[in-house]
């Protein structure tokens, strides 16, 4: 078995298993805590808990105008990185092919040039994220190993992906192997660290939305 076979086979299954089980474990550990029924009367402008949760999940994706003057840099870099990642994952032909092989679902790929630009934007954004964590007083204070590891584990697949798409620097098979292995490293770390925000960011918003909707104080 070559390293590529290993990456495509057992390593992929193991990484998927760890990611799914880890996330389920982390979510279950939180969800199974005793839930206290709120006995307070709802507010005069109250909305339903579910609609409040859903509304907050969506609305928090857009920065509030009153804060934007002070948070513009963070918001811009964050948007660039996440949109870039979405374009790469959902628009890149090889990624669509992978999904098609696994599920049968298929959709048209974006032109290679657009995916290449998105990859570049994502890479630069990730480098800026690291730079800001190292230099901004607040981010330097808050940042820990988890933060840097999570960024690095996101950056490596993007970098190896760009090299792979351009078929440069190293042989195609070698690049493909390291690209797949780097994605698997990301998948393995995902449930344990900050990368789990793919789930918890939305869970956090939903929890707040449900509570504030009952009060009639959704923002």
């Amino acid at each position: 078995m070559t390293l590529l076979d290993f990456a495509r086979g057992p390593a992929l299954y193991a990484a998927t298993l760890i990611m799914v089980c880890g996330l389920v474990w982390r979510l279950t550990g939180v969800a199974l805590l005793p839930f206290r029924r709120d006995l307070a009367a709802s507010g005069p402008n109250a909305k339903g808990r579910v609609s409040g949760a859903l509304w907050q999940v969506v609305s928090r994706s857009f920065p509030r105008r009153s804060f934007l003057g002070r948070t513009m840099v963070t918001v811009t870099i964050g948007y660039a990185m996440h949109i870039g990642l979405a374009v790469i994952l959902l628009g890149g032909a090889p990624h669509i092919l992978l999904v098609t092989q696994a599920t049968g679902l298929d959709w048209p790929a974006l032109p290679k040039g657009i995916v290449a630009i998105a990859s570049g934007v994502t890479l630069v954004s990730l480098l800026l994220v690291i730079l800001r964590r190292l230099t901004h007083p607040v981010l330097r204070l808050l940042s820990n190993v988890d933060d840097y590891l999570s960024i690095l584990l996101t950056l490596i697949p993007v970098l190896t992906g760009i090299l792979l798409a351009e078929e440069t620097l190293l042989p195609y098979e070698t690049l493909l192997t390291w690209h797949i292995l780097s994605v698997e490293a990301l998948m393995i770390w995902l449930p344990f660290g900050k990368l789990a925000h793919v789930v918890f960011v939305f869970a956090g918003r939903a929890a707040l939305g449900a509570r504030q909707a009952r009060k009639g104080a959704l923002q």
Binding site: V30, L33, L139, A207
Partner: protein, 454 residues
């Protein structure tokens, strides 16, 4: 989860003194008490928020303590860092892994003592950070839980917050005012202001709770409450068996004291068959009674809880409250209004005071950030009651002072006793001449008895 390597952990200087009252307790016992206190009320909601932080730092930009000082230690989510560490090590879904691999250092008592300033002196629990957080983390709620832990470990600042909370737990009032003394004071205020007082009536539809701070500093507001309720013509009464609306215990983190105060008010209002309990112009006490009291006593309340501004707005709408418009000042300065965080941002009632101001015909010049976006006055969350926090509080107040100045208004109206105090002290310390007024007092001055009788 937030593993923090020791290299990046804050340098903890040995505590110069034990701040806590419970000095004799062993450190470990106090640490255990702190962690138990923190997680006692933990449900899926709070745990989700503990897992959701991205360390994006945006909450700092919403906090006036950071914005005005530029000191990163005032970043809201950093204020609960020791409790995040403890959560990861002891309670989080991967706690065994964190302990096994030493991914997060254990929390020390010295660390908690160091954090006292961050959790008490520099947090108004105003929830502005909650509003900016992309993960929807209610940091204000987590700070409240962290204060439970700090209180249980004997780490509440003693001057004056801890002292007042202690007195409140002991007597039911932060100033130790006994029910009969309260009754005498209320009757005296009525006599002095020529207002008919109703105290301890056997039956009452409306019960206003009383802030001891109003009693000490703003008795006019108590007279104004009576005057307005007499004007509305409702059957009302102060109840001295449970009157203390300040609930200092809540901001100190004393759950037991909080419960004692809440239960007394609920019992007093229930006994006289109240349909409405009015919380005076005090923000945190309103939050407690409006959103927590039912959970504290274990059943739905048999009456509605309204902030004074909500009650007045409802009375206006029902045609029970008749007001004369305030004459326009000749120079067109107009007035501005400060939204109390707990009523506006946290409870969604920015509309009520504005309806009243509209009825009064006030020339309202809104602050640049108003309604739910309003900055806290800097005194909320018990900060106004911490003597040593004065300089920091005044720093935090600077943003408010600037925004008030930008409106050109010569008077700021408030609907919260704590905010009123902070504004008065803040303007005085800054040598500003801007006036500070209570909206309730203004309503009482502008009652239109003629319109009512016609």
């Amino acid at each position: 989860m937030s593993p923090m390597p020791p290299s990046r952990a804050p340098k903890i200087a040995p505590a110069t003194r034990r701040i806590a009252e419970s000095r004799s307790q062993e450190d470990q016992t106090r640490l255990d008490a702190a962690m138990r206190g923190f997680i006692t009320d933990f449900g899926p909601e709070a745990a989700t928020w503990m897992e959701a932080c991205l360390h994006c730092g945006q909450c700092a930009e919403a906090c006036q303590f950071y914005v005005e000082t530029g000191d990163p230690k005032y970043t809201p989510i950093w204020k609960i860092e020791p409790f995040k560490q403890a959560y990861n090590r002891q309670m989080g879904p991967f706690a065994p892994l964190f302990r096994m691999f030493g991914l997060t250092p254990s929390v020390s008592l010295g660390q908690l003592e160091h954090w006292q300033e961050l959790l008490y002196d520099s947090c108004n629990m105003c929830g502005r950070c909650t509003m900016v957080c992309p993960a929807g983390i209610d940091i204000a709620d987590l700070v409240e839980k962290a204060r439970h832990g700090m209180f249980d470990a004997g780490l509440v600042p003693p001057d004056y917050l801890g002292a007042l909370a202690g007195k409140e737990r002991e007597t039911g009032s932060p100033f130790g005012i006994a029910p009969n003394a309260m009754r005498d004071s209320l009757l005296e205020i009525g006599e002095k202001h020529g207002v008919e007082m109703h105290v301890d009536e056997p039956r009452a539809e409306v019960v206003p709770a009383v802030s001891s701070i109003d009693l000490k500093m703003y008795p006019d507001s108590i007279a104004a409450t009576a005057k307005v309720l007499n004007h509305i013509g409702v059957r009302w009464s102060f109840m001295t068996k449970g009157f203390d609306a300040d609930n200092v215990s809540l901001t100190a983190g004393d759950r037991e004291g909080q419960k004692i105060v809440t239960e007394a008010i609920v019992a007093a209002a229930t006994d006289c068959g109240a349909q409405v309990l009015i919380m005076p112009e005090c923000g945190h006490s309103y939050t407690e009674m409006r959103w927590e009291a039912a959970n504290t006593v274990g059943h739905a309340l048999p009456f509605r809880v309204l902030h004074m501004s909500e009650y007045l707005a409802e009375a206006l709408e029902a045609g029970q409250l008749h007001l004369r418009p305030v004459p326009k000042d000749g120079q067109g300065h107009g007035v501005t209004f400060h939204d109390p965080c707990q009523v506006s941002r946290r409870s969604g009632r920015s509309d009520a005071p504005r309806r009243i101001m509209q009825a009064l015909g006030l020339d309202l010049h809104e602050l640049a950030d108003h309604g739910p976006d309003s900055w806290c006055c800097g005194g909320g969350g018990g900060v106004a009651l911490i003597g040593r926090a004065k300089t920091l509080r005044n720093h935090a107040f600077d943003i408010k002072k600037r925004q008030v100045a930008e409106t050109g208004a010569d008077t700021v109206y408030v609907t919260c006793t704590g905010c009123r105090q902070t504004f008065e002290h803040g303007f005085k310390d800054a040598g500003a001449e801007t006036g500070v007024g209570s909206l309730l007092d203004l309503v009482a001055e502008q009652l239109d008895e003629k319109e009512k009788t016609s």
